[in-house]
């Protein structure tokens, strides 16, 4: 296989020349590099912000700020950039709500940004991902679980699921949506229910 030295890779990569990234590139980067960090991000937010009901909005704010920056230039590496934004969002929130953080956050400027730790190796992440997915699936309400398994594991169409479960297609849809929302809440949240 032909090996490419680091220098030429940098030269070839349009992102390094400051060219605006295309939407397809942005999506690929967001899905393959940002979303896998979500679990670590949520743990970080949880340990620095006490009101659990704010976390989803904070995550959205962080992704938005990250996305706006990435439109100019996709940040590489992603992890320290993401956590720097997360830290800034936390600081903004503290200021806005005029909270003097007591628990675990003695000083706004010293909120730790976990940048050095490269995380477990990819293999461990992949194994974890499957384990989490199965654990999350097991926690779904039975009808939701049945619908999503028939669809994604058995490969049945919506009509076939409706027949099999003796419910309307619309209800199948409802079960699939509920299942997906719960999975999204749980999958990257260390398998915990929200």
């Amino acid at each position: 296989m032909v090996d490419t030295p680091e220098t030429s890779r940098e030269r070839d990569d349009p992102r390094r020349q400051g060219a605006a990234a295309g939407m397809a590139d942005l999506k690929t980067w967001f899905v393959s590099e940002v979303l896998p960090l979500e679990q670590a991000l949520m743990q970080y937010l949880q340990s620095n912000w006490r009101r659990a009901e704010d976390l989803a909005d904070m995550r959205q704010d962080i992704y938005l700020r990250l996305y706006e920056a990435a439109k100019e230039r996709i940040p590489q590496p992603t992890r320290p950039f993401l956590f720097t934004i997360a830290r800034n969002i936390l600081i903004d929130r503290y200021r806005r709500e005029r909270i003097v953080p007591i628990d675990g956050v003695p000083d706004l400027e010293t909120i730790a940004v976990p940048t050095q730790d490269p995380g477990p190796d990819r293999r461990a992440i992949a194994r974890d991902e499957l384990r989490h997915l199965q654990a999350a699936l097991d926690r779904l309400p039975p009808r939701c679980r049945e619908a999503i398994v028939l669809r994604q594991v058995e490969g049945l169409s919506r009509k076939e699921i409706a027949l099999r479960m003796a419910i309307s297609e619309k209800t199948v849809n409802r079960h699939l949506c509920d299942a997906m929302n719960l999975l999204l809440d749980m999958q990257r949240n260390a398998g915990e229910a929200p």
Partner: protein, 318 residues
Amino acid sequence: MTAREIQERAVEWVVQRQTDEAWSEADQTALDAWLAEIPEHMLAYWRAEDGWNRTELLGALRSFRPNAARQPDRTRSIWLRRAAVAAMFVILGGAAANYFAQPPQSTEHAYSTVVGEHKTLALADGSQIEMNTNTVLRANLSGGKRQVVLEKGEAFFQIKHDAAHPFTVYATGHRIVDLGTKFLVKTAPNRIEVALVEGRARVDSDGANEHSALLRPGDVAVATATSISVTKKTQPTLAKELAWRQGNLVFDNTALADVAAEFNRYNRQKIVIADPNVARLTIVGTFPATDVDAIINTAREVFGLHATQQNGRIVISR
């Protein structure tokens, strides 16, 4: 609107789009309009769609865990087990033993390319397999089965996803399960390299200790009998590795020794470089894989080297 409400809306769109068989142009226009409203919508949609795609992993799990779900197709599971046993044999015996004594099913077909040849197999389900030089594979695609054994060489797979019938590639003791993908598999004695261009795939080892790795686009997995390591490559680098599909070899500051080794994969006329100082010179450029003369001429003209015929081989020296 809270982030959670946006998520719920995004999930509705994803589920509708993925399961509505009557999804129309008008539906797509409505979705596009919603996505364009604010970036939060698009980000939530990407996230929901990724979540949906990841649940398909469970479908792949089922395919090699007979206990995890119903296993209606008994002949398939027997075939799988036999392939696994043979694959372990390969690890013990090395590449020379990379041969199955008898085909598991009469419906199986063997395909091969000779040195320098490039062949594309178009499958009935719309999937494609491109075989690179000096490659042998066997495919069993009857009765809903989608299984390929890559005996040796290199092949690029573009697979139409079908959750009910996962596409599985076996190679030197490893199993690659596609989850809707384009990927490259390259075999070497006792190890394989899997490069994922699009979609998602999983690599499993059948060795004494089981390993598994999930690949995302840009990931390159190198799997041996005892380990799987995953690294990331940029799109330009992956594109170079796939240049053979257009019949080209792409070099970018590549040492002449490696250039010769690449050309030798594609040509009966072998290039030999004995002088280490010559071997270290580097080349940039794109060459037709079977045009040995082009690379010899470049060596002559750019570096002032000499090429001589010796025992049917071309020796490059100062």
